[in-house]
């Protein structure tokens, strides 16, 4: 293992190790003070930035296409193996760099922002876990390992949405986001299976396998499902405003910067396959276009700052999807990096937006004049109203999901419950029926 490989391993593993150590310390009954936690966070991400800089320097100096670190197989069963390969190339390094820099910044910002908050320690614990999951996903040399990082990011995201656990709304929204994530991740799992089946490996460290038209379309369709879920693209955009229930720093790093771009990263990773299939390219472009239009319209009708920013992110990620579908890989990467940086800043400034406005108004000596006419005013008024209602209800996406997926599933579940109840004895049905349970819960509620 040479020094660049060591540095790569360090950069990826450091946040994970810190997470484990802090978790064990907590389990043993000691909660470190805020200053200790924030110092550890600062040191960890500074060291990770340094380590990634070394990797970057190595690639730039030697002109090598990538730094690859092979740990072997995580587990092997006959011909099936789970390769444990870390891989830093010109695509993953920008994403990894973005992750450690922004996670470090968010750590510093949150030390003040969440000062004396009840969940201070929990937030930092989850921040480290999230950074580890993201770095693992971006540095993975195979889709198997990418799935592991991907899932960790999802879980952390949900736990941070439910950060203010005393209120029920964040928890309910976290559950909703979790359900969407898990449903969409089926695409990734089946996609990885398809890759194993068709090419014998899901590793891309030594190049992606070449797949024929129909196989390429199927694979891209499955991965697009996962990417669209993670990036809140149409038709899964409904969860994004719900995710704004989390603390602002986590919203900034998840939905302004890293997590929301993870889907784009996945598509960029399989972009050589995407361009082999016109159907796949068309699907990616269609989803991106629909999301961009949906995002910009819903964002304009949003009443709160964070939701507006979230929809602005969604719009930009939709445009990134279009760029990927068109094969503009470098433009997409540059777009992601620029967008993530600006959006993080905007999210972090969102709580002090009014203060900023007041400051600006004082500076210019009064309120700013209106921007002028909008193009939508050219439309007939009934159409404008319809569009406004459509945007206000966020494209009715949540309603559609509820009506056509969730309600039927819950009805089916209740039907199964009734079927299971058939044949109960009288004594049991009195003692253990849902009604009697509710009554019992009402009498002796905890």
């Amino acid at each position: 293992m040479d020094y660049s490989q060591t540095m790569l391993a360090f950069a990826v593993l450091a946040p994970g190790v810190v997470f484990v150590v802090l978790a064990l310390v907590w389990l043993a009954g000691w909660v470190p003070s805020e200053s200790v936690v924030s110092r550890i966070t600062g040191l960890t991400f500074s060291a990770s930035i340094f380590a990634l800089a070394v990797v970057l320097w190595r690639i730039a100096a030697t002109g090598a296409p990538a730094v690859v670190l092979i740990f072997g197989n995580w587990f092997t069963v006959q011909s099936y193996h789970f390769p444990l390969v870390l891989f830093a190339d010109r695509l993953s390094l920008p994403f990894m760099g973005m992750t450690v820099v922004l996670a470090g910044l968010i750590g510093q910002f949150s030390a003040t922002y969440l000062h004396r908050e009840r969940g201070f320690f929990r937030f930092f614990l989850l921040l480290h876990l999230f950074a580890f999951g993201s770095l693992l996903a971006f540095a993975a040399g195979s889709f198997d390992l990418l799935v592991a990082g991907w899932e960790v990011v999802g879980i952390t995201s949900v736990l941070l949405i439910a950060f203010f656990q005393q209120r029920t709304a964040p928890v309910e929204n976290g559950l909703r986001v979790f359900a969407v994530y898990r449903a969409c991740d089926i695409g990734l799992l089946v996609g990885v299976f398809a890759l194993h089946n068709w090419s014998g490996t899901a590793s891309f460290a030594s190049g992606l396998p070449s797949l024929t038209g129909s196989r390429a379309s199927t694979l891209c369709g499955l991965l697009l499902l996962a990417a669209a879920g993670k990036a809140a693209q149409v038709p899964f955009s409904g969860w994004l405003p719900r995710a704004m229930e989390g603390p602002t720093p986590s919203s900034a790093i998840f939905y302004g910067a890293i997590s929301i771009h993870a889907g784009a990263y996945l598509l960029l990773r399989v972009q050589p396959i995407v361009v082999q299939s016109r159907a796949a390219s068309a699907m990616v472009i269609a989803v991106g276009l629909a999301s961009a239009i949906h995002g910009t319209m819903s964002g304009r009708a949003s009443a709160d700052a964070k939701t507006s920013l979230a929809y602005a992110s969604l719009t930009q990620v939709g445009v990134v999807f279009i760029e990927i579908g068109l094969g503009w890989r470098s433009i997409a990467v540059a777009h992601i990096l620029g967008h993530a940086t600006v959006r993080t800043l905007q999210f972090l400034r969102a709580p002090s937006m009014l203060h900023d406005y007041h400051k600006m108004h004082s500076a210019v000596g009064g309120e700013l004049s209106l921007a002028g006419k909008h193009l939508n005013e050219l439309l007939p008024e009934p159409v404008q109203l319809w569009l406004y209602r459509w945007s206000l209800d966020r494209g009715h996406l949540d309603t559609i999901l509820d009506r056509f997926v969730i309600y039927p599933l819950m009805r089916l579940s209740r039907l199964f419950a009734r079927l299971d109840g058939v044949g109960l004895t009288g004594s049991l049905s009195q003692r253990e029926s849902p009604l009697s349970r509710q009554r019992a819960a009402g009498q002796g509620r905890v």
């Binding site: 069963v77 879980i155 979790f178 579940s413 199964f416 819960a441 905890v446």
Partner: protein
């Protein structure tokens, strides 16, 4: 008497003796139970170290179950720690270990029946529903009938002697499958599992369910005895298992009783074990065997935490509204979410590997129905997270006089469970490699050409120069089989 036989006898008899001692002495029952289970753990571990690497599933299961019982002895709340409960658990331990180690059909049947005996006592079991007893009774009857038919045909009753001979033909095969369906709670015989969890004592019922006798019967009896029938007819059981996994997962979405909900999730996940065992691919079978361990440990952990919550905050816990218990019991909350997510494939836990292998295996063998597995797992994950959220999150309740989080003994035993699923997830090859060898043998049994086992049994004496050391690894073993099968008469 061989050393292994003595150790097996110790592992089985000591818990039984301890159970009797508890009933007689009626003092220090937790200590006696702990010592009894500990002796079982030690004996099983020695057996495991002495067992050959490729055929050690029974020993691994013995270690796992005795460790679970040991953990249960420590986690069991004081309220539940009565002589009858401890005695019943020890009796269950002895019976389960007897079933795992049985080499004779009659012994297996006896162990199967004995393991259900405590659950027929209304005073001990508590659940007034007839379905748990009916499920257990029907499964025992089906197995008993199968054994009687085999005995009536005048065949040997030693399991190894019956390998590949399809004793009793399709009728015995059908009865064995029926025993699996009733014992494991496969659709349409699934309802008793939730009833048992709801009405019965939480931890002993979890132990009963985690014996996984149904899966054991498949791995130990059905596949080796009926390789050809299993190859042709087994997909039916696999489809039933996958349908059960999905049905129960959907059923859990609207369930609000925590115990019932946990039972449904555990049932859905354990149904995947059967689907994996049938997948006829090394990945699927290995995944099933590894998943067996994960489901067992995680389910026990979840039921343990739930019971600890019940004794602290009342038995009327419900998932219909937010209870906010994390503020009172943060460590129990962490244990619950880790065990819960470990059950449904959280990365970094052993179930991530087992789910990965299971999905590969089932999709490979059944590309259409195999899709039900990830869908069911996704639903189970949502259900588990919902239960966690409803129990632990939400506004902190006031008015509790007891604010205790996990006690030291509870904390460390639950931490040991978490350590197993996490370390197993970080270094899965230790477990996967051992089970892969076992799975390869199962897979070979199912892929074997028609009547190959009968042929091998007949031809075995025709090959005089077998080297005993050739059996030490799987490659040698398979080559050995080829030599036996394809050697000229």
């Amino acid at each position: 008497m061989e050393k292994t036989s003595i150790l097996t006898a110790v592992a089985i008899a000591v818990p039984w003796a301890a159970g009797i001692l508890v009933a007689v002495v009626r003092r220090h029952w937790r200590t006696i139970g702990f010592v009894g289970a500990l002796v079982s753990v030690v004996a099983s571990m020695i057996l495991l170290t002495a067992a050959p690497g490729i055929r050690s599933l029974n020993e691994v299961l013995m270690v796992l179950f005795s460790c679970l019982t040991l953990g249960a002895m420590l986690v069991l709340p004081r309220r539940d720690c009565t002589p009858s409960t401890i005695g019943g658990i020890l009796f269950l331990l002895g019976s389960t270990l007897l079933a795992y180690s049985a080499k004779d059909l009659r012994v297996l049947l006896s162990a199967w029946i004995l393991s259900t005996v405590p659950f027929f006592s209304v005073k001990w079991f508590g659940a007034r529903s007839w379905r748990p007893r009916a499920g257990l009774l029907l499964s025992s009857s089906a197995l008993a009938l199968a054994v009687v038919i085999i005995a009536a045909q005048g065949r040997v009753m030693v399991i190894d002697g019956l390998n590949g001979r399809s004793p009793g033909g399709i009728s015995v095969f059908g009865l064995l499958v029926a025993a699996v369906i009733f014992r494991k709670g496969i659709c349409p015989a699934h309802a008793w599992v939730a009833d048992a969890a709801q009405g019965g004592p939480a931890i002993p019922t979890a132990l009963l369910l985690n014996g996984h006798f149904g899966a054991m019967l498949v791995a130990k009896l059905i596949v080796p005895l009926f390789p050809n029938t299993a190859r042709d007819m087994f997909p039916v059981l696999s489809y039933l298992a996958l349908v059960t996994a999905l049905y129960v997962a959907i059923r859990g979405l609207s369930e609000n009783s925590p115990r019932r909900l946990l039972a449904l999730v555990a049932l859905s996940q354990s149904a995947c074990i059967l689907a994996g065992l049938e997948s006829r691919s090394a990945e699927g079978i290995t995944g099933a065997l590894v998943h067996w361990f994960v489901v067992t440990v995680s389910t026990m952990g979840l039921f343990g935490v739930l019971r600890l919550l019940e004794v602290r905050f009342g038995e009327n816990l419900t998932a219909s509204h937010y209870l906010g218990l994390a503020a009172h019991a943060p460590r129990l909350a962490v244990f619950f979410i880790v065990f819960g997510l470990a059950l449904v494939g959280l990365p970094g836990t052993l179930s991530f590997c087992s789910q990965d292998l299971l999905i590969q295996g089932t999709l490979e063998s059944h590309p259409q129905t195999g899709l039900l597995l990830p869908i069911a797992t996704a639903m189970n994950a949502v259900t588990i997270f919902r239960l966690f959220a409803r129990l632990f999150l939400g506004r902190q309740r006031t008015g509790f006089t007891v604010m205790a989080d996990a006690l030291a003994r509870e904390k460390w035993i639950l931490a040991a469970g978490v350590l197993f699923v996490v370390m197993g997830g970080l270094f899965p090859n230790v477990i996967v490699a051992r089970q892969a060898a076992e799975a390869e043998a199962v897979e070979q049994a199912m892929r074997w050409p028609a009547n190959s086992f009968q042929s091998s049994a007949r031809r075995r004496p025709a090959v005089p120069n077998l080297k005993p050391e050739a059996q030490r690894n799987l490659g040698s073993r398979l080559r050995l089989k080829e030599r036996i099968l394809f050697s000229p008469k």
